[in-house]
Symmetry: C2
Subunit: 204 residues, 2 copies
Amino acid sequence: MPQGNPIAVPADGLTTRARRNTPVLAVHTGDGKGKSTAAFGMALRAWNAGMRVAVFQFVKSAKWKVGEEAAFRELGELHERTGVGGAVEWHKMGSGWSWSRKAGSEVDHAAAAADGWAEIRRRMAQQRHDFYVLDEFTYPLKWGWVDADEVVNALQARPGHQHVVITGRDAPPGLIEAADLVTEMGKVKHPMDAGRKGQKGIEW
Amino acid sequence: MPQGNPIAVPADGLTTRARRNTPVLAVHTGDGKGKSTAAFGMALRAWNAGMRVAVFQFVKSAKWKVGEEAAFRELGELHERTGVGGAVEWHKMGSGWSWSRKAGSEVDHAAAAADGWAEIRRRMAQQRHDFYVLDEFTYPLKWGWVDADEVVNALQARPGHQHVVITGRDAPPGLIEAADLVTEMGKVKHPMDAGRKGQKGIEW
């Protein structure tokens, strides 16, 4: 539980209010569980605060996140019906992005990841959402499908008050450097080590 | 993202199905952020799977979790109205528990924590919920308000298929030992280190 009092007040010339309203870039990395789950927990809080939430899943198969996706779709519908919370969009790379015409049986994952990032960059320029989850986005960076320096520059230049959470192992050093909040999820013990398989409602 | 294949198959005499259906005891500990947030993300997934979710917050002031609480109350109402997802209960110690008559201006926090645990133990015996979040429950254990060995014994003896997630720093060794899934959230960088205060939708 974070304390309300900052450890130090920086000499950055900002008022407390300006500093408080700084948009957050968060990175959840490490080998342990909870990176995406904590990001979705943050998104839940953002939704409750009325923010427009958008999730972008950079994975080929999204089967592990169907529970979160279904729950957020319910929250998005609740917002549309009653005005409670914020709008929700959920996009996954799967076999091509939902906004793309390129989907087909022969998908170039590197190109799809680059397309995904290009779209996110466009949306950030338009300030289309308030809270972005770029789930497992570290992998296309690691594999060189998307240029990490370009990502860091675009994130640092994003206008307005847009929060971004990026998840995945092996976050590149430049991203760690640029982030305001970095949490390393370390695995201490995992049931799959004991030979258990995942189960519905727990693993996905 | 966990892989679908377990690293090793244990010689525990269980079928894959029996092992898959083993209820999970998870602990989120460490000095970093995301312990509770990841627990609420898991609860969201459990809710979507139709599980009866119950959250018990063992903190005096629950101001940091109001966003999650509000969002889960919406999900609980959505369930009651439409049958989607599972039932939700959210209890916080605050100044006494909601089920207790003892609330008053002079609250004995040690006694309140013990009452909270006694109630959870009763509910587990009755299999009243499917997914329990015992938020910041490590603190009453650490401070000796609730006996850690008794907790571990009760958790290990819980009947049926009840999942439990416990959050907080300094989880006692016996609890770590008993847990199926332990994640250590390590702080790498936090905006409050840079003199920022928390902001709505991000910190609470």
